[in-house]
């Protein structure tokens, strides 16, 4: 599954995801009539306007054993909030079988190496709130007694040459929030700028995330500030196609 905004603005992330899965021996299909998971409408409270889109999604994907997307926010929506569509066995099947790419690689494929990939740089890893608190892909700072783990980091660490820099307030929201980025534009940009400042304070020039929506927002803030960062999706680095 390729999210709508990746389809439109960052097709290279969809391409990297497909190529990576194929390198790993997965037979991956791309249902051509897919469009969107319905999140833009659902998150706005427009549940009735999300229904048709969600049901189209279900029709496109109901028969697959795994539905994989390079997007924590979409997968969180499909797995945990797919309530605009009618609650049918197909709907439940899709919700139960959808995976964020990072989860799929860790928990299903259990990938140990990416021999075709090399990235000799220090990176800042940003994991989205959807992935952390919605999908449980990483321990959250709000629960300080939980043992540390991070699925995206564990994958990145397997890439030759890479090092992951720690930064302050590591899992504070980046400020995208979907429609929030437009309706509360000033706060959204302030949050994005603060995040860039904290990451930049480590000296990194590369910012990586398993979620392109956060990166789209941060990239927009960075360009306006004329900051010098490169933004890459996890799939691109693991696929060895980081430009």
């Amino acid at each position: 599954m390729v999210p709508c905004y990746i389809d439109m603005f960052y097709p290279q992330v969809g391409i990297a995801t497909l190529e990576l899965l194929e390198k790993l021996g997965v037979e991956a299909d791309y249902p051509f009539d897919q469009t969107c998971c319905g999140q833009p409408m659902a998150n706005s409270g427009a549940s009735s306007q999300a229904k048709a889109t969600e049901e189209l999604f279900i029709r496109n994907f109901a028969d697959y054993e795994y539905v994989v997307a390079p997007s924590g926010s979409c997968v969180h929506h499909i797995r945990n909030k797919f309530t605009a569509a009618d609650d049918t066995p197909e709907r439940r099947r899709v919700s139960a079988r959808v995976w964020d790419l990072a989860e799929f690689l860790c928990d299903v494929l259990r990938v140990h190496e990416f021999p075709w990939a090399e990235f000799p740089h220090q990176v800042a890893l940003h994991v989205s709130c959807s992935a952390i608190r919605g999908l449980g892909e990483q321990a959250m700072s709000e629960r300080p007694n939980d043992p540390w783990f991070s699925k995206p980091a564990s994958l990145l660490e397997k890439v030759k040459g890479i090092s992951i820099a720690g930064f302050d307030r590591p899992d504070e929201c980046c400020g995208f929030g979907g429609t929030f980025a437009v309706t509360e534009e000033a706060v959204s940009a302030a949050m994005g700028n603060d995040k860039l400042e904290r990451m930049g304070a480590t000296g990194v020039h590369h910012i990586v995330s398993p979620d392109m929506s956060c990166l789209m927002h941060l990239q927009g803030c960075a360009h306006r500030n004329r900051d010098d960062f490169k933004f890459l999706h996890l799939a691109q680095i693991l696929n060895g196609s980081a430009e």
């Binding site: 249902p31 897919q34 706005s44 409270g45 427009a46 549940s47 306007q49 629960r143 509360e184 990239q219």
Partner: protein, 480 residues
């Protein structure tokens, strides 16, 4: 009546960089200290679960606990009153004061009395009201509501307070020293406490087993307000009930750690009966709580113990300031409580959130705050609170995204692609994606176009819901 425009208030706050940066730093500091306190308690998550379970049990038996509380309190010599709404509460309080000839009331912090607007009600009827909580008093002197439920004046810098005290008390305007300023306050307020006719407190908890009202303060101002005057009035929201002192221990262990990272406050006070020669009144207040209790989505907000952890962690709250919400309760808990008081006025608050979930995970009583924020958005839609432009944008998105061919046609044209994504944006009068942030550039081709060109468009169209043939080709098979 126009809804509160949180976005505009937030913009004004952000443009004042000094205040925003100081506020964000101060409030985040509370979150950091809260984390350290939680780390010290290995059973922290277990305590949260217990607290949530105790509240849920109590709310599922509220009539029983209210009656038990009333019975015990009455047996202790307390007079218990009941108020259906803010106005009844204020009238009861006023009647008590008037009938005793009380003209000057000192009070400790109570968000319930903020909710009921008790102070202006009494002042209009000739009763002098002095807040004794330092932060509340600061806001009272500046004619502003609280900006945070634990530290009402957190949105002010020390310099702001120095200027305010200079205006009001004639103290040194340039001495931005918290020790000095607290001394100024003590000097002016202590005589007022000693001369007061009556004292009023709120309640952090109401213990059914003992009929006691429990207050938690750093200053001891509830102990002063509640003990110095002979007449004591306690305002208690009905959701403050807990079964007994064994349960109280769980909450006292969680409350201050969640709020400021300390293990406890300096004064944890239990008022079960009047002082010798005095009288004590308790006013149990509904004011919309029973209505919320009946709502299966929103009743969990009644578990709230007013710790403020949710707003401390909220990145939106910290950057927009507590006053930007224009309401009694602010931040995440405010967003889920306020619409039930006035849905129109607060119809935009649920959108002052990125639904990131941090609040839910610091809440000591496991309120699913971010999920309720999401549900309030749906409620706003159902209630007809969307503007016509927003409705139009949603309808357009609906049509486009549920029709694959139309979607592909619109997105294939490079320039048009930019318009589709922030389509929901057109209802925002600031039309704002590009104000502080650059618009993403359109790609040369979409993924659909790339796939069609490089992999060939597959023959199989999307299944209608009724088809049941089992696919064998094109299914993702993982490596085991």
């Amino acid at each position: 009546m126009k809804p509160i425009d949180h976005a505009r208030n937030a913009l004004a706050f952000l443009e004042d960089q000094t205040h925003e940066q100081a506020f964000d730093k101060l409030i985040w500091g509370l979150r950091v200290r809260r984390d350290a306190a939680a780390r010290e308690v290995p059973e922290w998550e277990q305590l949260r679960t217990l607290a949530s379970g105790i509240k849920e049990h109590t709310l599922s038996n509220l009539a029983h606990y209210l009656e038990l509380f009333e019975q015990r309190a009455t047996g202790n010599g307390v007079r218990v009153h009941w108020a259906r709404d803010a106005h009844e509460h204020n009238q009861i309080v006023h009647d008590i004061l008037r009938s005793r000839g009380a003209k000057h009331l000192v009070k400790s912090k109570s968000m319930l009395t903020e909710e009921c607007q008790t102070r202006p009600f009494l002042e209009r009827r000739g009763i002098q009201v002095t807040e004794t909580d330092l932060g509340e008093r600061i806001q009272q002197l500046d004619d502003q509501p609280p900006s945070h439920i634990v530290g009402p004046a957190f949105q002010k810098t020390t310099r702001d307070v120095a200027e305010l005290f200079h205006r009001v008390y004639g103290s040194e305007p340039d001495r931005a020293d918290p020790v000095y300023l607290a001394g100024v306050m003590r000097e002016h307020t202590r005589p007022l406490i000693l001369q007061a006719d009556a004292g009023m407190t709120g309640a952090n908890f109401a213990v059914a087993q003992t009929g006691a009202v429990v207050t938690v303060t750093n200053e001891g101002n509830a102990d002063l307000s509640g003990n110095v005057p002979k007449l004591r009035i306690c305002s208690v929201g009905i959701e403050k009930l807990i079964p007994g002192v064994a349960e109280l221990a769980v909450f006292i262990r969680l409350l201050t750690r969640s709020a400021t990272g300390e293990r406890i406050t300096q004064y944890t006070s239990h008022f079960a009966g009047p002082r010798d020669g005095g009288e004590m009144h308790i006013v149990l207040v509904d004011n919309g709580r029973t209505q919320r209790l009946a709502d299966e989505r929103f009743w969990p907000s009644l578990k709230c113990i007013r710790c403020g952890a949710c707003m401390n962690t909220c990145p939106v709250y910290r950057r927009s300031g507590g006053l930007s919400y224009g309401s009694t309760y602010m931040g995440p808990i405010g967003i889920i409580m306020m619409p039930s008081f006035d849905i129109r006025r607060h119809s935009e608050l649920p959108f002052a959130s990125t639904i990131n979930g941090s609040c839910t995970n610091v809440c000591p009583v496991h309120i699913n705050i971010h999920e309720q924020i999401y549900q309030w958005r749906e409620e706003m839609n159902a209630h007809g609170e969307f503007s016509t432009t927003k409705k139009a944008a949603m309808n357009l998105a609906d049509k486009l995204l549920s029709h694959p061919e139309a979607y592909r046609a619109v997105t294939a044209a490079g320039e048009a692609a930019v318009k589709v994504l922030p389509h929901f944006a057109i209802y925002n009068r600031l039309n704002a994606w590009g104000r502080h942030r650059d618009i993403p550039g359109p790609a040369a081709e979409t993924f659909h176009q790339w796939y069609a060109r490089n992999r060939g468009r597959p023959n199989r169209p999307a299944h209608p819901a009724q088809e049941t043939d089992t696919p064998t080709e094109g299914t993702d098979r993982g490596r085991a």
